[in-house]
């Protein structure tokens, strides 16, 4: 069905509107002709009435034809757009499947080798195997990030709102980073009490939190400080993550939310980042009716803020949920 060369939507629209224009043109001609006839027949009342009826009939017929064509065109174009959307979604879903399969094989096999199930490895071999495992996890995370970007840009991701306790979510994400926080002796504070529950997509909120908190942990050096706080206004819920990390140089601040952008000082501290995290986080915030912004001074630290609307988030049907990173920092 899809192999046949199809007209583009623009071509179809042109054809459709051409059709409607022709129908209207024909109507006008008919009406004019009828009016002309009417002029010549002025004597007999009965005949005039008959001709009037004829004019109304023809005009109604032409209008009905034009309307039918218009409906057909609109239906045609929407079906076509639906087919295109379905194709895009299908492509994205299949690509994700194909891309994920090889790293799954590596994941399983390295796990088996490291567990000793296939024979004991030497210490050196274990070390190499862990590097493979780590690199593979990076690959999986990059695939997830790219898929999220493509789902976001194609608008094919779903939003599934439900009642969410944002403080519980903040605590859960904070627990995920705890090992690194401890290792780096970071003073990590969460200030989130008596925040009303909101209607949000917990998965999306988690991705945003993971990105912002994960960055704070990544870019804050040993002994630094991170504070995560939440507060509510009448309309929105505000989440703020402040760190005493490396900060963002003023000259590159405008690019922070640009896809694939990474500041040099960030790259030095963490060569493995994808440059997609904040792009995705802000896109999510915007998609769910929130905002994201930051304040930062190089060498002193950064504060990232985002808002989520307290209510009114609508369900958005999509074909895929966004993927959550399994390793944040």
């Amino acid at each position: 069905m899809l192999e046949r060369r199809k007209l583009s939507i623009r071509e179809k629209l042109l054809l459709g509107f051409g059709g409607i224009a022709t129908a209207i043109f024909i109507t006008v001609i008919y009406v004019f002709q009828a009016l002309n006839t009417l002029k010549t027949v002025t004597e007999v009342d009965g005949e005039i009435l008959a001709i009037q009826r004829q004019i109304i009939f023809i005009a109604a017929l032409a209008v009905a034809a034009a309307a039918a064509i218009a409906i057909a065109v609109i239906r045609f174009v929407t079906t076509e757009m639906q087919v295109m959307d379905d194709q895009k979604i299908e492509f994205s879903a299949l690509t994700s499947h194909q891309l994920r399969t090889p790293p799954t094989i590596i994941k399983y096999d390295t796990e088996i080798l490291l567990s000793g199930d296939a024979g004991q490895l030497t210490r050196k071999q274990q070390q190499y195997m862990r590097e493979i495992e780590h690199a593979n996890q990076r690959m999986i995370d990059i695939i997830h990030a790219l898929l999220n970007v493509s789902r976001m840009e194609m608008g094919t991701f779903s939003i599934q709102p439900q009642e969410v306790d944002i403080c519980a979510l903040v605590r859960s994400v904070s627990n995920e980073v705890r090992p690194v926080v401890r290792e780096k002796h970071i003073i990590y504070t969460v200030s989130c009490t008596r925040i009303p529950k909101i209607y949000a997509d917990p998965r999306l909120a988690r991705i945003v939190l993971q990105n912002v908190i994960g960055n704070a942990v990544k870019y804050t050096e040993n002994g630094g400080k991170i504070t995560v706080s939440a507060y509510a206004s009448e309309r929105d819920l505000f989440i703020e993550v402040t760190d005493t990390g490396c900060g963002i140089p003023k000259e590159v601040q405008a690019h922070v939310f640009t896809k694939l952008f990474r500041a040099d000082n960030a790259r030095l501290l963490d060569p493995e980042g994808t440059g997609l995290g904040l792009y995705i986080a802000r896109a999510i915030a915007r998609n769910v009716g929130g905002k994201m912004w930051f304040e930062s001074v190089e060498g002193k630290g950064s504060s990232f803020f985002f808002t989520l609307p307290r209510k009114g988030l609508r369900n958005k049907a999509g074909r895929s949920q966004l993927a959550i990173d399994s390793t944040m920092v």
Binding site: Y108, G318, A323
Partner: protein, 124 residues
């Protein structure tokens, strides 16, 4: 008696890894490389659990699941989807067939899959 698990997976390396890991954990394992083989195996062996991939040649996972659920012997066999296809429609479809675990392979280590399988048996 050891619980019996049928793994339906077209990637042979993944099938082997899953199969060996679960066998080591004391489960009895049956293997199938596509949905068609999976259906036959499920009918003859009546496993206690099926680990089911989605995208497979001949008969894919969703088709196998739907066909199995349409016959009396297959209505009650617990199924866990283990696939790299993330597609909400498939998740919803599998839920309709009574499948509540839809795991994306890259997100779960073998150890975690084993844990999930054991939890599933505890549930019952």
């Amino acid at each position: 008696m050891a619980k019996r698990i049928l793994i339906v997976e077209d990637e042979e390396t993944l099938l082997r890894a899953l199969s060996e890991k679960l066998a080591r954990e004391g489960f009895e394992i049956y293997e199938a490389l596509n949905g068609e083989e999976g259906l036959q195996m499920a009918e003859t062996k009546k496993p206690d659990l099926i680990l089911l991939d989605i995208i497979m040649p001949r008969v894919d996972g969703m088709k196998m699941l739907n066909e199995m659920r349409s016959v009396s012997w297959g209505k009650k066999i617990p199924v866990m989807i283990l696939s790299n296809l993330s597609d909400d429609k498939k998740v919803a479809e599998s839920q309709e067939q009574g499948v509540n675990e839809y795991l994306i392979k890259t997100d779960w280590s073998l150890r975690e899959v084993v844990k999930k399988v054991k939890e599933k048996f505890v549930e019952e």
